[in-house]
């Protein structure tokens, strides 16, 4: 698996290297997170109870309401946030939130990225490349 590279349809933000936190589940800052404690808090979420601080979140699809557009900026201001977000399918809110917060995000793959990246793997993301990618180190 080491060295495996997966190209995304789109990306924004900076290069990031960190450990991946992976699940076949959705993502919404309002619905899923206790943003003060920095953990997934919705009981039904597959990452319930897990800390997202400093991790590259590899998840299926953006979910929920519009609040994430502000919340990523608020999370960044307190330094309690993921290192990056990697999604099979983004929605406009995630893109808008990442744009405001200057947050690293890539999305849109030929494979199900939640199955391709092992949970806990060290990964590198480069959204600035001509073809944005995530690579398992």
């Amino acid at each position: 698996m080491s060295g495996e590279i997966y190209y995304a349809a789109a990306g924004m933000g900076r290069k990031v290297r960190a450990k991946a936190l992976v699940a076949s589940d959705g993502f919404s800052a309002r619905y899923d997170l206790d943003r003060i404690r920095g953990v997934f808090s919705r009981p039904e979420h597959k990452l319930a109870g897990e800390s997202y601080q400093g991790r590259v979140l590899v998840l299926d699809a953006a979910k929920g309401g519009v609040a994430t557009a502000w919340m990523l900026h608020e999370m960044a201001s307190r330094g309690v946030m993921p290192a990056a977000l990697v999604l099979n399918r983004a929605n406009p809110i995630m893109v808008q939130g990442a744009a405001l917060a200057d947050f690293t995000m890539i999305s849109g793959f030929d494979v199900d990225i939640t199955h391709a990246i092992p949970n806990g793997a060290e990964v590198e993301i480069d959204p600035t490349a001509q073809r944005p990618f995530i690579r398992v180190i």
Binding site: D34, A67, H73, E74, A90
Partner: protein, 414 residues
């Protein structure tokens, strides 16, 4: 993105630094999502409760609000989603002074930017419903899905920063539901049962939302045995958007772009069909009710209640007494009518509270739960049920009458 002369001037800062930031933000978003160019919009609607903004977001707004008027004012009608409090009832909710201070600062900043503080998520019922084909930059997923589907307007989900940008530039990137080709159905739902209760309409939205799964999906529903009311469509759409991140649905023979199935499913297209019936709706409701035999608080909110919903609630409470907290949340436009028509007084006489201009889940839901000792909550809103689990609640989705019965029985569910 292809820019015209005015957009190039905006990007160069010729119309001030705030508009320069706004167009740059929009270009960044548009580039990511594949927009070719911009489209002019008629209104913008900003979701910006202070739980979402945080102190950092309010500071950010205040910096822009300090600019000279010619550089800071929105250029199209720009309105707001519910705020994080009803100041008249903040003490009852046990909201903290710092929350109210943040709210006051955010309101002052938005007013300085020329934003109309409508504080509502039912603007399509109370302010100015959009017209079919009209391009908008609406925040609040419930507003977007109702406006797109029931009114035939054209909007994507526009989070607060993007809606504010649209207000300042008068345009938005042309992607997603601004495009004809994105408005066709992507799957079909054949209904064998048509809901009646609002809670059942919301549960149907939840079921279809889970089938949809992401923002690109557009369900078309068939098999309804009657035309739903505006409130029923409101609850259905809000839940569909909440559970599925869906921004547009069609109901064949009901919604304006789908008078016939062929209108949204071009000839030769084969789409997957899901059969959905009462058993699916009861299953979604039962999952929330599991192991909950009593509740601490009853809340009607998300979306804000219409005058008709408030009237129904008042009639249910006549001659009864709520012995646990019961909150009904409506818009600042509906509330004066409730007061004038005696509906507020009837609800308050029965021990309930009518809140105005806020939404329960946007009002520091976790903190007020801890301050009041609330954990188990009954509501007829599927959207609220979907959201509150993450805030530490155990929500139960019930018809309004059963919620009222619980409130009048010390919280005990029957």
């Amino acid at each position: 993105m292809k820019l015209n002369d005015e957009e190039i001037a905006l990007r160069a800062g010729e119309l001030g630094p705030l508009r320069q930031w706004a167009i740059a933000h929009q270009i960044k978003v548009g580039d990511y999502l594949g927009a070719r160019d911009f489209v002019a919009v008629g209104q913008a609607h900003i979701m910006a409760d202070t739980e979402s903004l945080g102190a950092a977001g309010v500071d950010w707004l205040e910096r822009w609000a300090a600019l000279p008027a010619e550089h800071r004012l929105v250029r199209i009608p720009t309105i707001t989603d519910p705020r994080g409090t009803d100041f008249a009832h903040a003490a009852q909710l046990k909201q903290q002074p710092w929350m109210l201070d943040l709210e006051r600062r955010a309101i002052a900043a938005f007013e300085a930017l020329g934003v109309l503080m409508t504080d509502t998520c039912i603007n399509y019922q109370t302010i100015m419903p959009p017209v079919r084909g009209e391009h908008m930059a609406y925040g609040d997923t419930g507003v977007v899905i109702y406006s797109n589907s029931v009114c035939g307007a054209r909007s994507n989900f526009e989070g607060g920063p993007s809606a504010l940008s649209a207000g300042l530039t008068g345009r938005t990137p042309r992607y997603g539901y601004h495009l004809d080709e994105r408005r066709l159905a992507t799957f079909l739902v054949e209904l064998s049962w048509t809901p009646r209760e609002l809670s059942d309409w919301g549960a149907l939205g939840g079921v279809v939302g889970r089938l949809a799964g992401d923002y690109s999906q557009v369900p078309a529903l068939l098999g309804l045995d009657r035309v739903p009311s505006a409130d029923q469509l409101k609850h259905f759409g809000a839940a569909l958007a909440s559970f599925g991140s869906v921004a547009l649905f069609h109901m064949v023979g009901v919604t304006p772009e789908a008078m016939r199935l062929e209108d949204v499913v071009p000839a030769g297209t084969s789409l997957k069909t899901h059969d959905v019936g009462e058993v699916d709706i009861r299953a979604l409701q039962a999952r929330y009710a599991k192991d909950v035999d009593a509740v601490d608080v009853v809340v009607f909110s998300a979306p804000q209640l219409s005058l008709v919903e408030i009237r129904t609630l008042a009639a249910m409470l006549d001659g009864r007494r709520a012995t646990i907290p019961l909150f009904a949340v409506t818009s600042p436009q509906v509330k004066p009518d409730c007061d004038r028509m005696g509906l507020t007084a009837r609800i308050e006489a029965a021990g309930g509270t009518v809140l105005s201009g806020m939404c329960f889940y946007q009002s520091y839901a976790r903190e007020i739960a801890e301050a009041n000792g609330w954990s188990r909550l009954a509501t007829n809103s599927a959207k609220l049920t979907n959201i509150l689990g993450g805030y530490g609640y155990r929500p139960v989705l019930l018809p309004m009458e059963q919620c009222v019965a619980a409130a009048c029985a010390g919280g005990k569910l029957t």
